[in-house]
Structures are given as structure tokens and as C-alpha cells.
Symmetry: C2
Subunit: 409 residues, 2 copies
């Protein structure tokens, strides 16, 4: 029998040091979001295949781990198809299961419902440094609130977490799907062309304006492309200028209110930046969209937006919804690179106990340990080894600063 | 497009009240086990199919959710088999992945290594009340310690958690695989008969001694069965009597030391009970085995034992190992039935904000909320609805005891 030692391809074993950091960050996230009134919930990691493939997930639908049917439902005795042999798969995000959850439990939940989810998601992506096929997502969502108070609170909550983790000087880029759409339509693009146009705009960070222009011109006439690109210059970015404000009023976008309110009350050290080129991949967004950008890390370390149409696909009834996903894995990576030390580690005391300790002496050793543990201290008890020096070194490496030896005499 | 609202068959959406309890219990478990020197780790929920099917899992191997291969590795165009179309599956417990983890990382881990794992496991069992196909397991394991200090510490740690959750008057049943084996062999059963004999003994709780006797006599001659059953009377149960002690000495079982030490130092309210009929299902156990029995709940609410052979199957090198799994889901169920109230809930204040609040007033409202949140209080901000009475009732149901209204004038 051969067993395999490595984790499955693209997945990861988490060692104690990283795990201590992850637990600390999760605790801090839970505590902080709790003060904003979010309630934690959980959905199964296994989801119906018809939900996963319902076109809410964009490219992620290509990356689903599908689960084989079982028992009589499974027939492999003749040529068949993936659809015929699977009825469920692993979730690729937390938003789709949340929509199902809300539609299943709307009667038992308050309105608006403020949900916190922390859980594993799965994508069969090409494995690459720092990206794994199982990873943790951490989402807050407000369901049933059509007002921009929801966006404001999501941004304040998320940035408060980042502040508590000692992140400074980052940027919240914000845009609105309705602005993106209006600009493209004004330039003459047809509705069915929009998603392709946005995919090109979304590459701006990588290919620059010249690249965007070249790609657009490769597919569309100059009469559309030139006025379109000019419009980006006109509306500007950063502060909301006059042109931008006029466009926002025209489409009913609350960006000025959101940016104004957040700037007025924020306690964390970040900048709100209107960015007309922000696209965000997911096609389900319907209103404001936002993304956290950090100098330390090229890409986005979280983002979200309003998706007022998704829940209606389950319930048949339109339900406003907006969410913000903090980039948990990237934040953990940045904290590790920065050498972040989990605060408040307790006293760690190690008891090394010689072999064959008489019962009464052993009992008194344990009694002492239990007393210290009840006081919140960490006490390790282990048998004394022949190589005491090596054993002490290992205990020291584990953070035991107080090592006590107990001898059998 | 039809989407499905219910979770997949046999799995469960967790509502906010239950989730608050689960988070609290997880926090308490983490804190308590930390004081005993355990480090938390995590393995992927997806595991190699060859590991899952390596005969460590007993019946659970029949219950694996298998994951379909992807891309060119998958060929469904001609008749095929489950083995040919899957290469991974969802873990059915935390012990097998821990063994793989330890064998993969032994060089980076201390010896002994004290691991805490809290995670989801998956079994495609027939759905039934209170049992789900995805559920949380919570295991502590000590790897690399051959001494009975490991068993003692596991029992003290687990019972300390139960005590903190206000469980009293429970029993730790303890036995040793070597005693089980010695008794059956003395009665004349052949080595290859043992596992069947133990399966019958394991049914004692359900079918009583008469049932056990009848089943044994249906398969084995009276010359074996009668002396075997007599032996159980002779060794007795509860306190370790003279006959039992002699047998323990003969096979080198440390049960007297374990029971003695735990009784001498325990701070929780429970009884250690030597039980020669305790079997525990898993075939991988090699030494002491134990189980938590609670009057409130018929079955076991946790158990574990020593499994010194498993890790060697990965590493080729024998590594002593012992674990204790607390019955997380059953404990949550018992606490919910008991109406357990999560302690230390903070002040909850709700701000109801009328529509179209001027920017400066809204900013001062948010500033006040952010201040209260920074003090650790929970503050919900939501737009005032037409039906204020209903809105207030919902906030009250959510535990908001202080509801403040802000008007747009």
C-alpha cells in the first residue's frame, strides 16, 4: 500500500505558525464585524451543480470541482457526460450560496439581513505561487437594504478591520456599473458589446491605455473608441469632478454620497478614489462596485459591490444586496511577509517529567499544571527524553520560556 | 433558469443563532486546548483518493464523496469505472489527513507534536435527524509520545472543555485494544475471528448480553463463547479489580496509571470507568481507547485512542500517536436543547436613520456609531422604514435593546 504524503495538487497544509495568525485574524474579523451588527452564518461547501452553473460565477464556472453521483444514480457502464454523472460540486465563492441561503430562509431572517461568512471555497485554477485551489473567503453582505447606508457601512467595516491589522495608506477604488454602462452606451457601443468592452477596460492595469486602445480598435470602429476613451479623460478620477457628478446624477448613482460620508467619518488611514475604469469581473453587479488597492501588493486585496438581481433568481422577488469580500489569503500573506506577531501570546511553561514517576508525585505535577492552565497559562507536559538539550531547544523554539524539570526521586 | 433553494441533500444551512453558539464553543475549545499546549493546524478538505481508500477508515470508506477528474484526465466517452474517473475525494475524518500532514512535515514539527484540528468532514450517510453529511469534527492528537502522559493530558483537556460548557456527571469509559484482544484469544478465538467478535461485542448497548451471546453462539462454538463471556464477569467493570489489573499487567496496558492520574487531578465532574466491553469502531487503534458517555445523550459524545501504526504507513517509520475527538455536533445539539445562552453578549444599539439625511447630519450619526463600535459595542445602522413598529420589533428580536431614531429635520 502506497500512501501519498503531499496534499492534493494545488492545495495546502497549514503549519502551526500560519494557523495561529489565521485564527487571530479570523477572531479580529469576527469581533470587528460583530460591532457593525453582522451575524455570522454558514452554508455547506457542497452546492447543487445547477446553482453553480447558473451563470452567476463567470469564469469560475469553468473551475468547479464536480462531485460524482453515488449508488444507483451513477451509470458508468456506457459512454456518458459530465452532466449525467454529477449533481453537486464544491462552491467557488460565498455569494452564490448566500443567495440560495437567503432565499431558503428569508422568513426566518431579519430585513435587512447583515451576514458575515468565513469559509473555504474551491477553484481548480492553474496552481501558482500564493494561489491555492482551496482558500478562505471572508464576506460581509447586506441583503434587503436598497439605500447607500449599506455601501457606507460595508466600506467602514472593512477598512476598520484593515486598520486594526495595521494597514495604512491604502485606497478604496470605487465606481458604479451604471456609470460604466452609460459611458460605453454614450460612445455608441451596443448593449451586447458591453461585456467584451469591459473585459478590455479591465486589462488597463496590465496593458496601459495604449494597449486598451489597440485592443478596442482591433474590434470596434474609431468612431466609437475615440469618444469612449476621451470620456474617461473628461470625467477624470480621484475626486468626483463636475462632469463625473453630472453623469452620476444622470444614472442615479450614489457615489458622491458614499464617498462623502466615508471621508467624513473614516477613522482608518485610507483614500477613497473614484475610478471610472474599475470594472470588477463578476457580471452580476448592478450598482456601486469597489476594490481595495494596496501599494505593498500589486493587485486587489478585496472588493465587492451591489448585486440587486441575483437573489431574485432564486426567489422570483427582487431583493437588494451588496457585499464586500476582504482578501483574506492576501492579507495573511502580507502579514506573514511583514513578520506580523500575533499579540497577547500567553505565558508558556513546559514541564519535562522523568520516566516512571510515582503516581502521587505525578498527580501533584498535573495538579500544578491544571492550576496554571485554569489561570490561562499554556502548560505543556511531556516525558523527559534522553537528549534533554535537544528537547529544551524544541520547547524554546515553540515559545516555551519557562522550562521546568521533574525528576523521579 | 431554475435554481434550487434547499441545501444539497443531507447538508445544512446554519442560521445566525446556532452559528453564534458554534463560534463561541469553537473559541472556548481553542482557548482551552491552547492552555494544554496544542497548536492548531489545517489540512485541505480534499484528499487523495488512494489515501482515503487505504483501509484506515473502516465503513467510512463506503461513504466518500468522490471528485471527478478534470480536463484530459477524464474520459467518459467509453464505459469506465469510478476508480478511473476520480483521483480525489472529501475527507471523512481528520485523523487520516493528520497522518498524511505529519508525514509530510515531520521535519518542521516538534516532537512530540500536539495538534488541534477543527474542520468539516463529509460522509454520504443516509440522512437522519441530527446527522448531516457535512459536519464539524474537533480533534486533539499527540504524535510522537509513547508514554501515557499523552492519554492523561488528552483526557484532562477534553474534560476541561466539557466542564467549561457546564457539562457534569458524565463518564469516560476506557479500555485497551490489547485487553480486548487478550481476552478473546484466551477464550480460544483465532486472530482472524477477532474483528467479527468485536463487532458483536460492540452491539452490547443495543442488544444486551443475551443478544451478544446469541449472536456469538450463532457463529462460534460454546467452548469459546462461554469462557469468553465469563471472563467479562471476572474482570468486572468500573473500578479496576484484581483480575483486571493482572490482565493489564500481562499485556502492558497503562490503564491503571491513566485512571489513577486522571482521578487524582481532575477538576471537572466526571467518572473514569474501566469498561472491558468498549470496542470503538476504528480498526486502527492499538492501545488505550476511550469514549465520553453522557446520560443526557444516549450515545457517545466523543472518543479516541492510541493508534501507533497509522503514521508508519505513510512514513515507513513507526510513530506513536493518540487522539481524542470531542463530539462537536452533539455538544452543540445538547447545548441548544438546553437553551444555552452565549455569555458576554455586548450592548447592542440600533440607529434608525430617516431617508435623505443631509450629508453633515449623516456624518455625525456615523461618527457616533464608529465611536461606540470602537468601544466594542454593536451598532447597527439602517434606513428607517415605513412600518417602524415592525422594524423595531425585528431589531428587538435581534437583541438590540437600545433603539435610536434619527430624523431628517
Amino acid at each position: 500500500m502506497t500512501l501519498t504524503k503531499k496534499p492534493v495538487n494545488g492545495m495546502k497544509d497549514i503549519l502551526p505558525d500560519e494557523m495561529a495568525l489565521r485564527s487571530y485574524v479570523i477572531g479580529l474579523i469576527q469581533d470587528t464585524y460583530r460591532t457593525f451588527g453582522f451575524s455570522q452564518i454558514e452554508t455547506p461547501v457542497v452546492e447543487h451543480i445547477e446553482n453553480l452553473l447558473s451563470k452567476q460565477g463567470g469564469e469560475n464556472e469553468q473551475l468547479i470541482f464536480k462531485i460524482l453521483k453515488r449508488g444507483q444514480k451513477l451509470d458508468l457502464s456506457k459512454p456518458t457526460t459530465e452532466d449525467a454523472v454529477t449533481d453537486s460540486g464544491l462552491r467557488y465563492d460565498l455569494t452564490l450560496p448566500l443567495s440560495r441561503y437567503y432565499s431558503n430562509h428569508a422568513n426566518e431572517l431579519p430585513a435587512p439581513f447583515k451576514a458575515l461568512q468565513i469559509g473555504s471555497v474551491f477553484r481548480a485554477d492553474r496552481p501558482q505561487r500564493g494561489r491555492y485551489r482551496q482558500f478562505t473567503q471572508c464576506d460581509i453582505d447586506i441583503l434587503g437594504d436598497p439605500s447607500d447606508l449599506a455601501e457606507i457601512d460595508l466600506i467602514l467595516a472593512t477598512t476598520t478591520v484593515l486598520q486594526k491589522l495595521d494597514f495604512h495608506n491604502f485606497t478604496i477604488r470605487i465606481n458604479d456599473r451604471r456609470l460604466l454602462k452609460a459611458m460605453a452606451e454614450k460612445a455608441g457601443f451596443a448593449p451586447e458589446e458591453l461585456s467584451e468592452v469591459f473585459i478590455i477596460i479591465d486589462k488597463l492595469d496590465k496593458i496601459g491605455w495604449d494597449g486598451v486602445k489597440a485592443e478596442l480598435l482591433g474590434k470596434y470602429p474609431e468612431e466609437k473608441v475615440t469618444p469612449y476613451l476621451t470620456m474617461f479623460e473628461e470625467v477624470g478620477s480621484g475626486e468626483v469632478g463636475e462632469k463625473a457628478k453630472a453623469l452620476m446624477d444622470e444614472v442615479g448613482s450614489p457615489l458622491p454620497e458614499i464617498i462623502g460620508s466615508v471621508n467624513a467619518v473614516k477613522t482608518a488611514d485610507f483614500t477613497m478614489k473614484y475610478d471610472p475604469t474599475l470594472v470588477r469581473g463578476m457580471s452580476y453587479y448592478t450598482g456601486p462596485i469597489f476594490e481595495i488597492a494596496m501599494d505593498e501588493y500589486g493587485g486587489s486585496v478585496g472588493g465587492g459591490g451591489r448585486y440587486d438581481e441575483m437573489i431574485g433568481k432564486f426567489t422570483g422577488q427582487k431583493t437588494p444586496a451588496v457585499g464586500f469580500s476582504i482578501g483574506f489569503e492576501r492579507i495573511i500573506m502580507l502579514l506573514m511577509e511583514r513578520g506580523f506577531v500575533v499579540p497577547g501570546a500567553s505565558d508558556k511553561i513546559a514541564f519535562m517529567v522523568e520516566k516512571n514517576m510515582p503516581a502521587d508525585k505525578l498527580a501533584s505535577i498535573y495538579a500544578e499544571a491544571m492550576q496554571l492552565r485554569a489561570e490561562g497559562k499554556t502548560v505543556d507536559i511531556s516525558q523527559m527524553k534522553k537528549n534533554k538539550k535537544f528537547q529544551k531547544q524544541q520547547l524554546t523554539d515553540l515559545g516555551y520560556t519557562d522550562i521546568r524539570e521533574f525528576f523521579n526521586r
